[in-house]
Symmetry: C4
Subunit: 213 residues, 4 copies
């Protein structure tokens, strides 16, 4: 009985989080502005205008994939976490606050990437946001696993340690991309692309397959 209530808790935390993830990811498209007909005279010029939106497309894809990976990870930790307490819910809200903020630095990136004078700051703000997101995500995970606080009784401890190490690399990697922004913005963005690609590699304990089958 008590167990079923706890599970129900996690269910609603997951549902609310899914909602925020789904909305934040879908709002990204609103930042891609259709060129006005006044600014374009014929098809050729519209083509040029659409090409000129490449920083918006780049920002859209980068942030979409990043939020998508964050969602997939958030999804997968609930294989191990079966209960939610007040503080877990609050750390989760803080994490979602950071995720929901991402459309703003994405729009900033899209607007200032073509501007030599603003692009360093835009990429730095974008990377800094991801450092904070990664820290909040680690806080969520650490709070749940510390002293097995909210872990499922049958959670594979080795898998948990592997995930902890993996997640700890997040803030460090995004920190590097933050530092690189002041050296070369394209190198910094390349790190973001690389991090997304790395997350796609299989891990020892895949989220789709429970660890102790």
């Amino acid at each position: 009985m008590a167990e079923s209530r706890h599970l129900s808790d996690t269910t609603r935390v997951e549902a609310f989080s899914d909602g925020v993830f789904a909305i934040a990811i879908t709002l990204l498209v609103l930042e891609i502005r259709v060129p006005t007909p006044d600014a374009t005279e014929h098809g050729h010029t519209l083509l040029a205008a659409l090409r000129g939106l490449w920083p918006s497309y780049l920002g859209y894809v980068l942030s979409f994939v990043t939020i998508g990976i964050m969602w997939a990870n958030h999804h997968s930790i609930f294989h191990y976490i079966r209960r939610a307490d007040r503080y877990f819910v609050l750390i989760n809200v803080t994490f979602l606050l950071c995720i929901s903020f991402l459309p703003f630095p994405t729009a900033l990136l899209a607007e200032y990437l073509p501007e030599p004078g603003g692009r360093t700051l835009a990429v730095a703000v974008y990377s800094a946001t991801l450092v904070v997101i990664a820290l909040a995500y680690n806080a969520l995970w650490w709070y749940a696993v510390a002293g097995d606080r909210l872990l499922a009784a049958d959670a594979d401890r080795d898998a948990v340690r592997t995930i902890s190490r993996r997640y700890a690399a997040g803030p460090i990697s995004y920190g590097i991309s933050f530092g690189l922004a002041f050296v070369n913005v394209w190198a910094s963005l390349a790190v973001h692309g690389l991090l997304a690609a790395l997350y796609l590699l299989p891990e020892r304990t895949s989220p789709g397959r429970p660890s102790r089958e």
Copy 2:
């Protein structure tokens, strides 16, 4: 059978409410406007422009945390409320109407906080909205618990009374912040921050732990 239908009712009320909470909380970021490149010449100026957006960041964090706490509370009362009738659903829709409205006073706050001539009214409108939200939330709770109308049969009556007292303090506290807006807007905003912090304190019956384990 009847019981399972009632539970299913509450489930869909919770799901719909979660949707509205999740969307209202995520729409807040749309109010933070990216500075236009025309208005900024180089990185330094962009930095100044981004700093100048502090009222938007403040409004975003304040409203996000407030909606987050409202969601967590709304979430936790369904440990006690297991059935929904027509009027409960309608009071809940009214409550959601107020929650959904919050992005408007938040944008008003962000726009007028730096304006000496408008900030009193902006903070007063923001506080007044929260008074109404808190009243609607109390109406929802009171309707459900009055005469045990929609309470779970096994709900802890002491816990219910504690929650009732706690919630009753909401409209009064926000009323104080409303009054303070006409004396000193920063004191009024400080009350909002303080109220958020107070909600984070543990209560006797935490939502994560059923009261009669």
Copy 3:
């Protein structure tokens, strides 16, 4: 087994519909525009500007309550409908297309209600949209109940007939408000308010109480 799959179908139709309802209802607030500081010099002028937004508040409340009632009704028919087939899903998508469109006539109403030259058309478009929504809703209900196509085996036939009569009154009532728009816009809007109030009256078979307990 087959039965549980059917139920699961309805669950996802309900979940998707809830999502669309929740988003359409929450997007309404985006149509209320914060007055620009340039247009207002001091607190008094801001107060006047905020008062001048009354058509936006009116549109927000009217459309929010209308969508809220539509959602509550949509919610309650799934006490009787337990299965979904392809055509039911498609009629439901058409119904949602109309619901999602409502923010546009609401914004039109808010913009043109103070304009003597445009208000008749704005109120007529608003009412016409609700006629179409009510027709789509009736189509959804009629498709499900005709020949007991998708009704639950234990559905109370008397309750179903009562609901059918009630729903049939929707397009007619909104049709009257459409006609009234060309005579007097305020009388037309009063009908909208009256219809919302009428929906709040108890019906013989309340959605919270199954009909054959």
Copy 4:
């Protein structure tokens, strides 16, 4: 136990996808802009302005129905797919990235359909987006059914083959509408309408009726 975890996986993938579908479909209305009162002097002119928005209405209906059908299809494949692994989740995120992008080409279509110089490109971009969406959708389905990777044990193999054939026609059909855009934009749009109508035809294995009852 393992089975129930797999089912739960699919549940959250479906819930997240439903969220993205619901938001993308509801955001479409934001692209229909209310004409400003300054541009219209009296009711007659507003009527003309509202008539002039026909490309926005067309784009809204076309994209709404398209996303609605995509959702219904996505919904129906989970009758056959009962498990989700890491790569399935990632292909699904990519598919959702394309779905979420649709409001942009829809707005482009609405803006440039009346412009002789831009309409070819606008319709081509719109069709190209649907080619990519259809390819991503096929990738999702093929990944799941190849070698019965994620199929339910009791899935009807004949039904699966029928669906595979049906889905494979999607990218080809949208490819034809892409090619037609350069010949005649109205013929290209007619193909879109026709494809929507074709999807409404009954298939041998309807989603509402499991294949082996």
